[in-house]
Every structure is written in C-alpha cells, then in structure tokens.
C-alpha cells in the first residue's frame, strides 16, 4: 500500500477547481461525488419515509386515530410507498454504489457521459421536489397507493397529477443513468478487463441498466396517459368513456414488476462482492451468477401480470404468468446457492459487512419464498392485497435491498470516506434490527393469512393482537436503525482514518487510496486475471 504515499492527485473529497464547498459539489461531474450526492439526498428521503412507516404502525394501535384521519392515512401509505420505491430502492444501490464504484471496478476514470450523470441527479432531485410539492398543493396528498390504479386515480380529488408527474421525472433520471452505465461498461473497460473479468457487481449493474431503459419508458407513457386523462379526459383508462382499467394495470405492471428487479439486482451484486472478500476465496460459479443476473432481467420482464391474478384476466394469461413467475425464481435460487457455496472452505473473516450480507440472504429467502407462494394461483387468490403481500415486499425490499444497501455501505464505507466506524456499535445495532424486523414483518405475513386487507385505516378486532406485535417490532427496529445510522454519521465526521484495504479485498477499488484520488487511477491498470484471485494476494504477502 505504500505505493500510494506519493500520489500526486488529491483525494476526490478535496476541492481543487475554481469552485469551493457546496458549489463545487453541485457542479461536479466526478462520478464519486455524484454517488455521494445521491446518497445524501436519498438518506433524507429514506428517513422521512421510515418516519411515515412508523406513524402508520402507531395508527394500527388505534390509539392515534384521532390525530390521523382515514384520508391522512391513505395519503401516508401512498407517500411512504412512493418515496420508498421511486426515491429509495429503485435508484438505491445503482445510483449510489453503481456511480461510485462501477467506473473504478472496471478500471475507468469516470462514466462515459459525466455531465449526463450530473443531469440525472438533477432530474432525481427535481422529481423529489415535485413529489414533495404534490403533498401540499392542489387537492392534497394523493391517496391511491403507489400503484395509482385507474379509475380511482382519475376520480380522486387529490393531487395525483403532480405526484404522477414526479414519478415520470424520476423515471427519466433512471433511464439516463441506465444509458450511461451501459455505454460505460461497453466502452470504458480497462485494457484486459474482458467481460468475464469484470467483478460481478458490474454484471448486476449492467443487467439492471437494461431493465431501466427497456421498462421505464412504459411507465413513463402510462403516467403521461393518466395525466392526460385527468386534464383532458382522453378516455383510455376511464370505463365511462370506453377505456379499460385493466389496460392501466397491465401497463403499470409491465414496468413495475421489472422495477422490483431494478431494486434487487444491484443489491445481489453488492452481496456478491462482499462474500468473497470475507471468505478470502474466489466466488463459487462466476458465470452462473453473471448469467443469472441477465436471466432475472430477461425473464423478469415477462411476469408482470402476477400482480393482477384476481383482476379477471383470461385463464390463459393466468396460467402463463403463473408459470413464468415460477421460472423467474430459479435464477434467484441459483444465486443463493452460489453464495452459500462461496462460504464453503473459505477462511472466513467475520466482519460487520458479512453479518449484514448473511442477514440479507436469510431475509431475502423469506421474501422470495413468500413471493413463490403468491405466484401459485390458488394461494394468490387468498393472499392478494392482504398484509401477506405487505410482508412479502418488505422482506424483499427492506430485508433484501435495504439490508444489502446497509451491507454495501458498511463494506465500502472506509473506501468512500477514508474513515472507519465502530464495529462494536454496528454489531450492537444488528440485534434490535433483526428482532424488530422479523416481529414487524412476520407479523404482517400472519395477519395477511388471517385475512387482513392492506391499505386499511382501521382493522377488525380479530387482527388487533398481531398488529400490536408488529408495532412493537417497529419500535425495536427504530432503536437499531438509529444506532446504526448514528454510528455511521459519527464515523463520517470523527471516525479514525481507515486503511486503504481494511478488508483484504482484491478488486480494483482496494488498490486505490482511501478515499480515492480524483481521477481514480494515476495510470489505467492493465488487467491480466479474474476479479477474485486471492492466491495472488497471498503470494505477495
């Protein structure tokens, strides 16, 4: 590591241009800084949406129903869902860690279109601001749920138009990021970095980017149609004019199902980086994992109507979509097995990122397996639109994408800020997070089986006990999360200096100083071997 002692270039955190401070950040085209811009913005949205989730749990205790009316509650879960989906999990890992590490991992100095990259961030912020504006203008916060089902979304007096437009702008940001990443991977790989030498995170980001550009435009146009419908009454979704609400549902889910794989693929990619580093061995089944990413992206685009099994589709469609849903679960299973296989005969250095990665696997499996239950037609008829679904998607989105986000943050933290956090505090936060999480969301699964519908302001008495359990779970979760974020925040500000390679990783980012220099590499490296070759490291030391 001593080679870096004499680096000529300063760290990317130091302003060198003519602009200083905030302005330097807001006009930066450095992919690392843009990654951090996303991270900071996103953390704020995430905290707000979590706060709303917390309030929703209190409402279900029934003691707060005087403060929160039914209308407000409907607005709460809509806003909670919109923020979590469009402002957190969809851009999530791709925009933060993809931006920060994709160019580094393939040995490039930046993405292909750095200014477009900054523009994407501004689109993201514009969308976020519009979303917030929609809460306080027009008829008030939208109350339709994040899926904006027509014709309710056409008739409600709330400010659906602006919220939907916000989602459109956010979609635009997501597409531009996708275009940028695909081009970057095709054009900017370092000499010798051929496709199968890329770290698997890059494969994950690559397949995600393809979904981003192939699916997002569909939701963009769908949302435009909703706006046109509200302003001009074009009648495509409005049954009063001959339109068809089912068409809306199809178009919405054509995007929004693939979107769930936009959420999970980069998360899986991050996990695939973490496990080999702490097992000190090469990944098990490199190609299987790379291809399963592409397979998930491909088949994942073909299963959308499993969200509409009770909507009265034709029997043919029901059969096909249920079948395809089962098939899309296979590549996820392959990944899980390969991760576990990577632990086999490793030399495991147990550290916080690994703990969260393994937690990811456990929670994602529960989420995925409940997904498979929902995919079986006979079961779906019962659990559709109940808390079982709510439980499922919190397991995959929070237990999956969220935990992977945390794991990735812990893993790359020393690289990004050049500082180290307190491991003991992180371990301590894990227990309340894990216990709280399962009380909260397993409680929801049980509620769903009992027949508790989702998006209910008040529940029938037989559901009360489980609701209390879930709410208590959310309190544990808060406790853990506050400790977790507090620890990291403290470390960013006052943490001790981190080494260049604290975990003994072998991918390219660990060959850089912490934090990395402005253009990543003094000299573009020439790649002569695969991404996870740990013997080479051993040979050296």
């Amino acid at each position: 590591m001593s080679t870096h002692a004499a680096t000529a270039q300063p760290s990317y955190l130091v302003d060198t241009g003519s602009r200083k401070g905030l302005m330097a950040w807001l006009t930066t085209t450095d992919h690392k800084r843009i990654g951090l811009l996303y991270l900071y913005a996103m953390s704020i949205f995430f905290l707000i949406a979590m706060g709303i989730g917390f309030v929703m749990r209190l409402v279900q205790l029934t003691s707060y129903q005087k403060l929160i009316t039914a209308q407000t509650y409907n607005a709460l879960f809509t806003v909670h869902g919109v923020i979590m989906i469009f402002l957190f999990v969809i851009p999530g890992l791709s925009a933060v860690f993809g931006n920060f590490f994709l160019p580094i991992l393939i040995g490039a100095k930046d993405v292909s279109f750095p200014r477009l990259n900054l523009a994407s961030w501004y689109f993201f912020m514009a969308g976020a601001i519009l979303a917030v504006l929609s809460l306080f203008t027009g008829g008030g916060a939208p109350d339709t749920g994040w899926s904006f089902y027509a014709p309710f979304s056409l008739k409600t007096g709330t400010n659906v138009s602006l919220a939907v437009f916000a989602a459109f702008v956010l979609g635009f940001s997501s597409m531009l990021t996708g275009i940028n990443f695909i081009t970057t991977i095709h054009r900017l790989r370092a000499p010798g970095m051929h496709w199968f030498r890329m770290p698997l995170f890059c494969w994950a980001v690559y397949s995600t980017a393809w979904i981003q550009i192939l699916a997002t435009p569909i939701v963009a146009i769908t949302l435009v149609l909703v706006i046109l419908e509200r302003f001009f009454g074009i009648g495509v979704f409005d049954p009063a004019k001959g339109g068809d609400p089912l068409l809306y549902q199809h178009l919405f889910w054509i995007y929004s199902h693939p979107a769930v794989y936009i959420m999970i693929l980069p998360a899986m990619g991050a996990i695939t980086e973490i496990i080999p580093t702490f097992a000190k061995r090469t990944i098990f089944g490199y190609k299987a994992i790379a291809f399963s990413s592409m397979a998930i992206a491909g088949v994942g685009s073909l299963v959308w109507a499993h969200h509409m099994f009770t909507s009265g589709m034709s029997g043919m469609a029901l059969m096909l979509f249920s079948l395809l849903t089962m098939i899309v679960a296979v590549p996820s299973a392959v990944k899980v097995f390969n991760w576990v296989g990577t632990l086999y005969k490793g030399s495991i250095d147990f550290q916080p990122p690994l703990l969260f990665a393994l937690t990811f696997i456990f929670l994602f499996c529960i989420g995925g397996l409940t997904g498979v239950m929902q995919g079986a037609l006979a079961v779906n008829v019962h659990v559709h639109d109940t808390y079982f679904i709510v439980g499922h998607f919190h397991y995959v989105m929070f237990g999956g994408t969220g935990m992977a986000f945390f794991a990735a943050l812990l893993y790359w933290f020393p690289k990004m800020w050049g500082r180290m956090y307190s491991k003991a505090a992180i371990y301590a936060s894990w227990f309340p997070i894990f216990i709280g999480f399962n009380l909260l969301y397993f409680g929801m699964l049980i509620l769903g089986l009992m027949g508790m519908p989702r998006r209910y302001y008040v529940h029938l008495p037989q559901f009360h006990t489980m609701h209390v359990v879930a709410t208590v779970g959310s309190w544990f979760l808060v406790l853990g999360l506050l400790l977790f974020f507090g620890t990291l925040l403290y470390a960013i500000l006052w943490g001790e200096k981190a080494e260049d390679n604290p975990w003994g990783g072998v991918t390219l980012e660990w060959s850089l100083p912490s934090p990395p220099i402005q253009e990543n590499f003094e000299e573009i490296p020439t790649i002569t071997h695969g991404p996870y070759e740990f013997e080479r490291l051993e040979g050296k030391s």
């Binding site: 009265g312 029901l318 392959v334």
Partner: protein
C-alpha cells in the same frame, strides 16, 4: 382441520397448495440458514486459516438449477389446477349479482331479492357475479380464501361452496377511497332449508341465520335476567352475542362505554356508547351504522320497560 376458519371447499383447495409451498419453503430456508451458519463457524479464519480457491462445479450448478426448477413447476401446476377448480363455477350454481360501490356491497339473487349481507345455503354452490358501479373494489371472503376484483364495466365471476354454517367477513381489498376500510359486509351460511324459507318466502320472510344462532341462545326464558330474556325473546341474539363473539352484528359484551366509529349519513364519527345512544340505536337502527357491520339490523318494537331492561342488561356485560 380448522386452519384459520376454513369454511369452504375453495379454502381447502387453497390451503392445500399453501401447505405444500410452505413445507418446501421451510425446508429450504432451514437448510440454507443452517448451512450458512455451519460454514461460517467451521471455516472461520481460526479453524481454517487457508481458503481453498474453488471456482465452481458444473454438476452442482445443474443440480441446484434443475431441482428448484422442478419443484417450482410442481408448485405452479398444483396451484393452477386447484385454482381452475376454485374459479370454474359448476353449472347448477345459484348466480348472485354482487355490486360494489363506494363504500358498500349489495347482493341480488336470481329471483330479484336483494340484501346487504350475503346469504348462502350450506353445501350448495353459489356463483358470484361481481361488478362495480364506480372504481375498482376487491371482493374478499377470507374464510373461503376467495377473492375477485369488482371492476367497472366488466363482470368477474367466482364461486364457492360453504362447508360450515356461520357468519364470515366480507372485505374490500382494493383501495377505493377514504372509507375503503369500512367497506365490509358478512356472508351468512345457513342450512339449505332455512335459506329456502327466506328465498322463496315473501317480503316478510325472516332473514336466515336464526337457527344456528338460536341453538346457541337459551331456549328457556325463565330465570334469565330480564334484559337477557328480552334479547332472547325478540331474536336479538340471532345477530348479537353476549360473550364477545362477533356475529352479524357487534357483540354486546363490553359495549357500554366503548368508543366506536359510527357512520351517520355516510359521515364517520367517533362516539362513546351511552344510554342515549343505545336507546336511539335500538329504536332507530337505520339512522346510523356501526363501522365494520352491514346496515342490516331490523327495527324491532320494544316497550319502554323492555328497552330499560335491555340497556341495563348491556351495562352489566362490562
């Protein structure tokens, strides 16, 4: 077996698939978790200082691709065939028109009879023709594991055959506006004769649901508290329990002094149950509606004395 109030054939069909997937899931989850923990301990840095660089194993990849694939396909097949059964109504099913509107359900039977709660004969197939007059709603009977969306300008159908007499919740599952969570009703399953008596009876025919509930109630009025005697004699116990069990109407147990949401002319209000409320409600049940219950309580003539007894008795149930 009575898993979560299983009360129709569709529920048995759905639960069978559920248990199949659930069993597989638990097995795989335990297997993966245990293996993970075992590896982390067995191959920790201390116990296993030097990692072996295993790049993969084609055979294993094939195994763990094809076994899940086969299992998933079997889940699909089982789920699909059982669903086919759950969704295809037999020819002789009685067709009931279910109409959803913001925010209530109504049911119309082939002979034109209408009701706010759904009456169904035990062991006979009933076909539901579900429509909506405004936005999308969801017609859901948890105990039957049955759900179908109510779409505007389109009729969706499903069917059930109840296997247990009783009263079961109907809930709306698709967000449809501010009172989405109040869009509830009941399905009341009674023996066929009783259903027929109502169905073929004229306007005055008593609503079904008495027999299985009067069986629970005390037949002998002697020695009962005066209020309870009135409740029994006037048939209130057909719909109300005094022990906390929900029936068609809310239980009378611990009712007094409770805070409740009621709807007056469609507007939700929170009130505390007191003497005046009880009297008003019993004498004019249609003027207001308790959240979560269909507006199905008939007006019953009670003397002032009976009314006093009833109210006093309800107070004693706290």
């Amino acid at each position: 077996m009575d898993w979560m109030n299983q009360a129709a054939i569709s529920a048995q069909k759905s639960d069978a698939v559920f248990f199949y997937v659930f069993g597989l899931s638990v097995a795989f989850l335990i297997f993966i978790t245990v293996l993970m923990i075992y590896f982390v301990i067995r191959y920790s840095k201390k116990r296993h200082p030097k990692a072996e660089q295993i790049e993969g194993h084609v055979g294993l990849e094939i195994v763990w691709t094809s076994i899940p694939l086969v299992l998933f396909l079997s889940i699909f097949y089982y789920g699909w065939t059982n669903y086919e059964y759950m969704s295809q109504a037999p020819r002789d099913a009685m067709a009931v028109k279910v109409t959803a509107r913001q925010w209530s359900w109504s049911f119309e039977y082939p002979n034109g009879k209408q009701s706010k709660v759904l009456f169904a004969p035990l062991g006979k197939p009933m076909k539901m023709e579900v429509r909506s007059v405004d936005v999308v709603h969801g017609f859901f009977i948890p105990s039957f594991r049955l759900k179908i969306d109510a779409m505007p300008a389109r009729t969706n159908t499903t069917w059930f055959q109840a296997t247990k007499p009783g009263s079961y919740d109907i809930e709306c599952t698709v967000i449809c506006g501010v009172d989405h969570s109040l869009m509830l009703s009941k399905v009341i399953v009674v023996p066929e004769e009783e259903f027929k008596a109502w169905y073929f009876g004229g306007e005055e025919a008593p609503e079904p649901g008495k027999s299985f509930r009067t069986a629970e109630a005390h037949p002998d009025l002697q020695g009962l508290a005066p209020g309870l005697a009135v409740l029994t004699a006037k048939g209130c116990l057909a719909c109300h329990s005094v022990d906390g069990k929900p029936k068609v109407g809310p239980t009378l147990k611990a009712l007094y002094g409770k805070e409740e949401q009621i709807l007056i002319a469609g507007v939700a209000k929170t009130i505390r149950v007191d003497d005046a409320y009880l009297r008003r409600f019993i004498t004019n049940p249609m003027d207001q509606q308790v959240r979560g219950y269909p507006p199905a309580m008939p007006q019953t003539a009670l003397t002032e004395q009976e009314l006093n007894d009833v109210v006093r008795y309800i107070k004693t149930l706290n």
